[in-house]
């Protein structure tokens, strides 16, 4: 019944208008080319005051949205090694709380993000807490041993450094400004001495020579 000549179709193609023996274009075996030349050129865009004003509005809106607090940037990826300069390149997304305050009455309660920042960081670090004090205490002891000569210069800094570490471990609400205050008061960054432990070691050996 079907037109045996032109493949196995379910209807005879004379009905749709393809005559017998006519040349059909070859069947496509690949996707159509990208950007083919168009037979009909497209109509030009609407120009005029209204179109231009709406264009300006659109671009301004886009720019404004990028500056609003609704534009959420993901946290910066962690670098492989902690660098000295990290402390001075404060990333923009360090606070976990929203920078705008929605009306929580019309939002589900579970979406509320707790605002106490150090507390959140420390509460996430709670499982690691048992390990941390031991490591830190060892560091403190080592620091004390190697920096005995530096007591005069480093005593105030050390005291703050020691205070800083227990502060970090405590889960109770320490305010952010305390940490920053300590960091801001001195000219030297706390971790300066952490990295350079051989500094004190050298001075141990060369007691006779003056230290420049």
């Amino acid at each position: 019944m079907a037109g045996r000549g032109r493949g196995q179709l379910t209807f005879s193609v004379e009905i749709v208008g393809i005559g017998k023996g006519e040349n059909l274009p070859p069947s496509t075996v690949q996707p159509t080319p990208v950007f083919p030349p168009l037979d009909q050129k497209p109509v030009p865009l609407q120009a005029g005051e209204e179109a231009e004003y709406m264009l300006a509005l659109k671009q301004e809106f886009r720019g404004a949205m990028k500056t609003l607090p609704f534009y959420i940037r993901p946290a910066a990826p962690k670098k492989d090694v902690e660098r000295y300069s990290d402390k001075y390149q404060k990333s923009e997304t360090t606070d976990n709380s929203l920078e705008w305050k929605p009306d929580w009455r019309s939002f589900p309660k579970e979406l509320r993000v707790r605002e106490k920042r150090p507390q959140r960081d420390k509460s996430q670090a709670v499982p690691k807490l048992p390990k941390q004090p031991r490591v830190d205490k060892e560091e403190i002891i080592r620091k004390l041993e190697t920096l005995e000569q530096k007591e005069e210069e480093g005593s105030s800094d050390e005291g703050e450094g020691e205070k800083k570490k227990p502060e970090e471990e405590e889960a109770e609400g320490e305010e952010e400004c305390d940490e920053e205050e300590f960091e801001g008061e001195t000219d030297y960054v706390m971790s300066y001495f952490d990295n350079e432990e051989e500094f004190g070691g050298e001075s141990d050996d060369n007691m006779d020579e003056a230290i420049y």
């Binding site: 019944m1 079907a2 037109g3 179709l9 379910t10 209807f11 005879s12 009905i15 749709v16 208008g17 393809i18 037979d39 009909q40 497209p42 109509v43 865009l45 609407q46 209204e50 179109a51 004003y53 709406m54 264009l55 509005l57 659109k58 671009q59 809106f61 886009r62 404004a64 949205m65 609003l68 609704f70 534009y71 959420i72 940037r73 993901p74 946290a75 976990n96 929203l98 929605p102 009306d103 009455r105 019309s106 939002f107 589900p108 309660k109 579970e110 979406l111 509320r112 993000v113």
Partner: protein, 539 residues
Amino acid sequence: MTTQEVRLCGLLLQEHFGDVVEKVGTHLIRSGVLNLRALALETKLALDLVKKSLCVLVQHGMCTFGAGRRGPAGPVEYRISCERIIHMLRYPRYIYTAKSLYGDTGELIVEEILQRGQMTMSSTVKTVADRLTHNMPEGQSMDYSEVVSAFSQLVETHFLQRCPPVASAGPSDSGAVDPPPPAVTPSEPENHPDCYRVPYINLTGKGKRRRSSEDGEADQRAAKKAKTDNDECGDEGIFWQVNFERFHLHFRDQAIINAVSCKLDQTSSEIVRTMLRMSEVTTPANAAFTQALSANEIFRALPSNYNIARPILDQYLTLLVDDPMEFVGKTGDSGGGMYVVNLHRALANLARATLESVVQERFGSRSARIFRLLLRKRHLEQKQVEDFAMIPAKEAKDMLYTLLSENLVQLQEIPKTPDHAPSRTFYLYTVNQLPTARLLLQHCYKTVGNLIERRLYETKENKRLLEKSQRIEAILASLQATGAETTQLTEVEEMITAPERQQLESLRHHINKLDSSENQVDETIFLLESYITSTQASR
């Protein structure tokens, strides 16, 4: 949700809210309804980020939440509405409409509320007054009362509405020791009786001019003071959002009026505009036609600068009724003749005109002739198409097959015998307007997606150049502020070489073109969407 819609939503979310919200939003669209835990688990993002993204989406009205399948005791489930996200394409058009109706003040009010999703009246008034004062010449400032009046006008004409209050599940204000309801469900905004009631706020003062020489701290202090001032204004907790439906009705009316003025003349379009304006409040949103208006009423309501005589008005109305586009229909003879505007039919005709124009621009005027023929005559055989369209057989065949391969034309089999023998079956070509409109709508979504992606690609390719030019502009601005000499300025300007300048210029030109195209495609999207919703509502 179709693939193209999901893709477009993802691109829009990424542009306006960042990658995190895009990931959360796209995943929620694909999965339908999810609760917070499941969402965080499946997107593998930090719970905090997911919470923030959901807050942003709820604030902008794109995500709704409600008690889940396990009832009020179970976790809250979130649902995203795709069409609200796609409405973001139309924001410039909303702002421009507000400007044309209510001036600069209205424009800024709508822009602020669109940027922030929901706002209280007092904060809107203050921000807008400050912005207007900033643009005014020295010494002048914008009074709050003017902004308040513009705001009230927007609310009266229903362009702004209150955000729906969230109905709590239990009697929380009885003061009893009830456990607080874990989930709260917002209701429809229209159901609230006070939806369009402007609250009384005691807000007096003028906009503050922000001096550029002031320290950033002073601004922060002022901002904090503004927040505490909020509590004294008396409209705590009353948030306002833009009423998109009302804007859409306005656009639809505009489209009809433009069509009438193109087809007939200016006076007829004024008559139709008057009729639409009179029936604004009485016609429900998706009605097929407006309320019946008598010719006497229309005559009285015509604007005064159109002093046409009563018999002339009757002639115009008869012309409108007899027009094959059927914009206006006559439903009775009392009161000098009862007339309605056929909204659904007008939208259908506009959609049909869009389809025909697309076929014409894509495939040529002869294919368009075949298309129009099939729309009018519904079903035609191959031979009949050739005869009616007066096109030679070979070319007609070619065009029909092209249209068929693009799915704009369908083939309908009508068997003569129960065994569907091909030699004894009629094969008829046909065009169905509604499915074709849907197809075209999906093409439009894909087009806008492509435009956005191309724009992002162009920006990325020339990122280095754009950053360089931004830096140089910043340097120039700071130099000018500190009063540098012209030699220094020219030196800085010359840091961008001439070919780079040319490249920048052409880049700007491309991006402007792509943005304009998006706006224009959005007009077609609006028309097709309105037609489809109207058809579904009238079924």
